[in-house]
Symmetry: C2
Subunit: 201 residues, 2 copies
């Protein structure tokens, strides 16, 4: 059976949880508390030297990390990976966009607001991060004004990757009201069969 | 013919240039000067709404962005993409690592040092960025102490993605001397057939 090293508040972990549920794949979840340093222990660094969740342990004991690489692995051979060379590349384009231009500016301010004390010096980063978060959301809005999904003409791992932190952007202090096409896309994603919320509880 | 919108000092652009050369694929290069805002014009934003190079224009006029998605697209069906589902996922794992945990901490300080004036306030970011750059290089060193290549047991797009900014880390003020296995890997990459340096000149 697959084992997912995870943290329930993590949107990156949620990506893997959501796809595993939609694929109907059973797995063992192992919860690690980032705030308590449980992803930086010597034992966990042997599983993922970069010390991050999610990390997926395959049946043969191989460890795979990076949320979007885990999505790609799980989706191969299923309808969640677009067909065709261009469709796959376009899904990856949006997934790299997510990790480079979106996650640091939507997920990181959410982390700062939810996990760091109100007087923490990293709060000073919030205005810059939110501004760049809005830039990423505007790029998504442009795409979604013309298309229902991010790649391949249907719901795919690109949508899962971008949904994970976008749908909780309000928890980062980022208002989604200026992005109506994005709002309709969020509703489409949430209506997919097998959809689950970001935390189990 | 393919058209590559590029900037010669960009390691992200170099990834595409290097693989195109190693594949023997002819292309038209269009140089855009980031410092002059040439990637943020209305005309270019119609090609890539995220306003970044490299962007690859395919024969049919489709635009593909994100350097590592371009690598994946070009490598499909060639020996530069690892065979097998796990090999492909492991290549992507390292490519997402590159964009999230390496590029902002090796490429960005290089950009600050080469493109911003000596009294620019962003110089204050250099110590934090270099520290995290060293963390990324240490993760690479751990891997390379046990294996010659990053994925699939041979030279692949994962090596190209990580080589691009690692081999010029000195230009970011990051010393590679503490990473001997990484140094040997850099030499192996530079010895591959069809290798070219980061700038044409």
């Amino acid at each position: 059976m697959l084992t997912l090293y995870d943290y329930l508040d993590s949107g990156n972990g949620y990506k893997a949880r959501l796809l595993l549920n939609q694929l109907g794949l059973p797995y063992t979840g192992v919860e690690l508390d980032i705030d308590k340093g449980e992803t930086r222990t010597a034992a966990f660094l042997r599983k993922n030297p970069n010390g991050r969740v999610p990390t997926l342990e395959l049946e043969d004991g191989t460890f795979l990390s990076e949320s979007d690489a885990i999505l790609f692995y799980l989706a191969e051979g299923t309808p969640f990976l677009p067909e065709g060379r261009l469709g796959r590349a376009q899904a990856l384009q949006w997934m790299f966009f997510e990790q480079y231009s979106h996650e640091p500016y939507v997920a990181t301010p959410r982390y700062i607001m939810r996990h760091l004390p109100a007087d923490h010096p990293r709060r000073a980063e919030l205005p810059m991060r939110r501004e760049r978060g809005h830039q990423a959301l505007a790029v998504m809005e442009t795409h979604l004004s013309a298309q229902d999904w991010f790649a391949g003409g249907r719901y795919s791992i690109a949508d899962i990757a971008l949904y994970a932190y976008t749908h909780v952007a309000d928890e980062a202090g980022i208002d989604l009201a200026p992005y109506p096409a994005l709002g309709r896309w969020l509703a489409r994603v949430a209506a997919r069969p097998g959809h689950i919320p970001i935390t189990r509880g």
